[in-house]
Symmetry: C2
Subunit: 282 residues, 2 copies
């Protein structure tokens, strides 16, 4: 019955790790193991047959795993790989799922063994709520996946990861440099999270909910955030994020100027341009 002829370990059975496990299970890997610090999470994952077996100590599964997928915070990802560097199976592929890449990859490459391949990955999927409870393979359906190879990575290993994420539902799989990844993500992900939070924080009323419609709800949706994770992500991508904030501020100031000058033509042109761009995004 085995479809994939290799063993996979997922590190961190939260929202992303749990969703990965659920999706990978259907591809029938030889073994699908889970590592988590939380015994209860492991028990749940085993009972629900999301994984074949779970471990709080990674030594056993790592030694036999051909692919290891880390689904934990960026800082923890580095720490986990460093602390367990001697356990990885020779030839293993390690891939991560965190939202920043350059700093993370540079750090990992400092201590990575030569017989192990680390390939940066970023599933552009998530939810407002965290934890295995909210995991679902559906979040990957037609989502974007970014892979950030470096010269150190083997072409066949990159292909393997690409095939795997395509098989679990991702649609557009783009390969780009870690630095480019961080620059783009500062715009498409870090900036929108800051704007949502800044908008809701600027509210000085207590009864706002009676005056909102879809526009405000959508604009603030991701303000409900895993603030530990996002603080880490953004602080690891400070330079690009600041650049994007400033570009956005300039864009806002064009609207402001048009309104201030009572320049209807200009305001209409700005809205029209935004409308055209948004239609293209659909």
């Amino acid at each position: 019955m085995t479809e994939l002829d290799f063993n996979i370990t997922i590190v961190g059975l939260g929202l992303i790790g749990g969703s990965f496990a659920m999706a990978l299970k259907e591809l029938k890997p030889k073994n699908l193991w889970g590592v988590d610090i939380d015994k209860e999470v492991i028990q749940t994952a085993e009972e629900r047959k999301i994984i074949d077996k779970g471990y709080t100590k990674p030594e056993t599964p790592l030694k036999k795993s051909d692919i290891v997928i880390t689904c934990i915070y960026p800082g923890l990802t580095i720490k986990f790989i460093r602390e367990n560097i001697h356990y990885f199976k020779p030839g293993a592929i390690i891939t991560d799922t965190s939202g920043i890449k350059e700093k993370l990859i540079n750090e990992i490459n400092k201590f990575l063994r030569n017989d192990v391949d680390f390939i940066g990955g970023h599933p552009m999927a998530g939810r407002e709520s965290k934890g295995l409870k909210y995991a679902s393979k559906k979040i990957f359906k037609d989502a974007n996946y970014l892979i950030t190879p470096t010269a150190k990575n083997k072409a066949e290993n990159i292909k393997k990861i690409e095939g795997l994420v395509r098989a679990i539902g991702f649609k557009n799989i783009v390969k780009l440099k870690p630095k480019d990844h961080d620059e783009i993500i500062a715009f498409t992900s870090h900036l929108p999270h800051i704007l949502a939070s800044a908008l809701i924080n600027s509210d000085d009323r207590k009864d706002t909910k009676y005056f909102v419609a879809g526009s405000y709800r959508d604009a603030t949706r991701v303000a409900r955030i895993n603030y530990e994770l996002w603080t880490e992500l953004i602080m690891d991508n400070r330079h690009s994020t600041l650049e994007q904030i400033e570009k956005f501020e300039n864009s806002v100031s064009l609207f402001k100027k048009a309104i201030m000058n009572n320049n209807k033509d200009e305001l209409r042109a700005l809205f029209k341009e935004g409308s055209r761009r948004r239609e293209e995004l659909i």
Copy 2:
């Protein structure tokens, strides 16, 4: 079979007017008439039995209507009422549905007959797409409705409008002063539309769609906009909108400063506050 003992005319059978007609039809008014400049729209509305009868010239239905609901742009609302002021039935209630109130009500009160009551209304519902084709009574379900009475309005008439909008699905119906309405709406509606447009306009890439997830999609959703209408709405509410933009800019600058100073505690606190507020909004 008549449930509502009065005649209603809806002016403008677009997204909002069409949705009103569909929803009101179920309350079985004595007659439900529609006015539109577009003959085809009227034909469609009649064929689909959304209205009992439609007119391109409003004289006939206005003369017999107890309630007139205008579902057209703010400027056109003023123009329509002024041009047809002599046709309204004595004792009629006119209510509008536009997103600004103070300027509109002041203008209308300049020429309004004493035997006709104009009550400002604002259904906080909509869609990215315009026109009868997208109309649906579902958009009103559990949405907010704002009514902006003035000293000129009769209490019984306000109650009538309130009862009507509650009956077609609106949940929270709040009465407030026209000026207060415009101030709050600048924050909850005009500002989010500007931010969505400013964000997507600040994009300087061509391949952004491969790098987006839900946060960017949601943050830019309302950039797809009826730009004629929104230019008019915002220009009629310039002062409050500018105030809200500046408040938002100050809020963004707190995030910027925290990132610039590498102040993790501050950034975490800002995200945590936003998160708390967003959870309360649900």
